[in-house]
């Protein structure tokens, strides 16, 4: 298999894994086998996978409350992710974080974050570290359209541009900040237009086209690695499911027509990419089915891993508070 084909098939596998992971997580949460709050990434898979496909293992990212996709795309171990959702000792955070706080510093995933825009300054700090180390690394911060209302968004765009930091701002415009449609909280639809005000390039891209996202990221990342500073990448996508669920999903007030439009094969990022690969004779329907079967097996194994992992011992409550 050619290098290109290997990469493209892996992109497809990751997108399917993200979708199936989160659909499974919703069922696990409904069944009360996992706890707390859950924010599924279903429908937005092409953004995380397209961006991370253009990053190196030594590049660092920060994520959001809707962070499972970013973890998987950056290469996180689904067994340890699942164990974290189950609140077990073998989870990424030893059961201290849960869905909203998964991190894997070993792969440059500096954490999901329960605060909108909260990860942006942290990614900016990772970009400063990369600039000082001068080894060509970059950082990327994922954030939603809702984050554009936060001061941290504007502050970090300004400083990153001023200091020419190797940072990629990835706005996942899924059209909803929690329960509010983006047009009800922003007078300007094009989020990339914030970029010129702060003196950096801004690009809007179809966030459901994984190859377009990868290409736009490659350009931005190459510029950043050369010392050309940050880029704001506005990825237009759509949140298929509810904002959040605890015991039950929050009510979804959106029209059935709208949901059907975005969930159809023409817009579904996974179906579209399958079509692209099939059109180039890179995969057959049987290949895709084999990927899906493998993803399902891997997820079943992850649930088994999580359930076999012990709950954290209450005597370890204070472990990890302070570094020695």
């Amino acid at each position: 298999m050619s290098q290109e084909k290997t990469e493209l098939v892996e992109i497809l596998r990751q997108m399917i894994m993200i979708r199936e992971f989160d659909l499974l997580a919703v069922e696990l949460r409904k069944a009360k086998r996992i706890y707390g709050a859950l924010h599924p990434y279903v429908g937005e898979e092409a953004v995380a996978v397209g961006v991370c496909a253009a990053l190196r293992p030594t590049d660092r990212i920060t994520s959001t409350h809707r962070g499972h996709g970013h973890c998987i795309a950056k290469g996180a171990d689904i067994n340890r992710m699942m164990a974290e959702l189950f609140g077990r000792a073998d989870g990424y955070c030893k059961g201290k974080g849960g869905s909203m706080h998964i991190a894997d510093f070993a792969i440059g995933m500096l954490g999901a974050n329960g605060i909108v825009a909260g990860g942006m300054p942290i990614a900016c700090g990772a970009a400063l570290a990369a600039q000082l180390e001068d080894q060509g690394a970059v950082a990327a911060c994922f954030f939603g359209d809702g984050a554009t209302g936060e001061g941290e968004f504007h502050e970090t765009l300004n400083i990153a541009s001023l200091w020419k930091l190797p940072l990629l701002f990835v706005c996942e415009n899924n059209r909803y900040g929690a329960g509010n449609a983006v047009e009800s909280v922003r007078p300007e639809a094009d989020i990339s237009l914030h970029a010129p005000a702060y003196g950096l390039p801004g690009v809007s891209v179809d966030g459901n086209d994984v190859l377009a996202v990868r290409e736009a990221t490659r350009e931005a990342v190459e510029r950043a690695r050369r010392g050309g500073g940050p880029t704001l990448l506005h990825c237009k996508t759509f949140r298929w499911l509810f904002h959040a669920m605890r015991d039950v999903p929050q009510p979804d007030m959106r029209s059935a027509d709208l949901l059907a439009q975005w969930r159809g094969r023409e817009r579904d990022p996974i179906a579209r990419f399958e079509g692209v690969l099939a059109g180039r004779d890179l995969v057959t329907a049987a290949d895709v089915q084999a990927i899906r079967d493998r993803v399902k097996r891997d997820l079943a194994a992850a649930v088994e891993f999580a359930e076999k992992s012990p709950y954290p011992d209450p005597k370890d409550l204070l472990v990890d508070m302070f570094a020695g």
């Binding site: 955070c93 970009a127 941290e152």
Partner: protein
């Protein structure tokens, strides 16, 4: 021993730590020409007035292998960075299961008494103490300021380093060489038999002045300086109180949910120390008002030597009258 000011001591600490470890970087909204000339504008930066961003930048750089010293200027300005302090810095290590260390030091000035009025005369260290996950330092002498700043920079945790505004120009002896002071160790600034006075920052000096004055009457005051508020050296304070049987805590923050309250709780919760008490414990704190501008009002709002002395006399009499020490 040579005598230098707190400000000079802090600058020495910065220079020595930046020479010692090239991963120490620093930034804030105020230019630091001496440091920038010595270490260059990559390691010494001045930032836009964007406290939330540069607080988080410090945290992110710390999680990526550097040792940032982030200067908020006045603690006042930290309040616009509360997301990064409260939701991020104080929780990031534990929440992620101890995967990474975050060796970042946040410097800020604190306290009133210099007519800067309500917003710029605050002493909010107990707000930060309340967040599990930050180390909190509050020195009172040039030597402690230097030694503790060096320790804070070397510490692998987010640390808030409070610098009392009224002490900036105060001089004192500072040892030569690599002088460090351990975090979490209190210091008995004056040994005594009759009453333990725990002072914070500027009020360590004031307590020492009152102790000098009362010594003429044969009253022997022990002055204890916690120096670090998290972790608090409770045992050193308890040991002093077990010797004297009496405790007064002096600070310029208002009493409610204060460091002074915490110190009283740590003392009275301990059975052995509680049994050693011969009088109710006392707090001498600021009035519960925003610190006013006019000198007459400001002086009325902040503790003074007369109030410290009165509290000492009350605990010596054993039965406080009027009940209300902290207004």
């Amino acid at each position: 021993m040579r005598e230098i000011t707190v400000t000079q001591a802090l600058e020495e600490a910065m220079i020595e730590e930046m020479e010692r470890d090239e991963r120490v970087i620093t930034f804030g909204t105020v230019r630091a020409p001496a440091l920038a000339n010595k270490f260059g504008d990559r390691r010494v930066r001045f930032t836009p007035i964007s406290e939330a961003a540069f607080t988080g930048i410090g945290l992110g750089a710390a999680g990526s292998g550097f040792r940032p010293v982030v200067n908020w200027g006045m603690v006042t300005f930290s309040f616009v960075a509360m997301d990064q302090i409260v939701n991020q810095a104080s929780k990031i290590r534990y929440m992620f299961g101890g995967q990474a260390d975050f060796p970042v030091t946040f410097r800020c000035t604190t306290g009133g008494g210099i007519q800067l009025a309500a917003q710029h005369s605050q002493s909010p260290y107990s707000m930060f103490m309340h967040l599990a996950g930050l180390k909190i330092i509050l020195p009172s002498t040039p030597a402690d300021a230097k030694g503790l700043l060096k320790s804070a920079i070397r510490d692998n945790n987010p640390t808030v380093f409070f610098e009392c505004s009224r002490l900036a120009g105060v001089t004192g002896p500072v040892p030569d060489g690599d002088h460090t002071v351990p975090i979490g160790v209190a210091d008995v600034k004056r040994a005594g038999r009759d009453v333990t006075v725990v002072g914070l920052a500027y009020y360590v000096r004031e307590a020492l002045a009152v102790a000098d004055s009362l010594a003429k009457e044969g009253i022997s005051i022990e002055v204890v300086d916690p120096r670090t508020l998290v972790p608090m050296d409770a045992e050193a304070i308890r040991a002093s109180v077990r010797r004297t049987g009496r405790l007064v805590v002096v600070d310029e923050a208002p009493a409610t949910c204060s460091a002074a309250s915490e110190i009283l709780a740590l003392v009275t919760e301990d059975p052995e120390t509680f049994r050693a008490l011969e009088a109710p414990v006392q707090r001498v704190c600021a009035a519960p008002v925003p610190v006013p501008y006019s000198p007459t009002l400001e002086q009325a709002a902040l503790p003074d030597r007369a109030q410290i002395e009165a509290a000492i006399r009350r605990v010596l009499e054993g039965a406080p009258t009027g009940g209300q020490t902290c207004r």
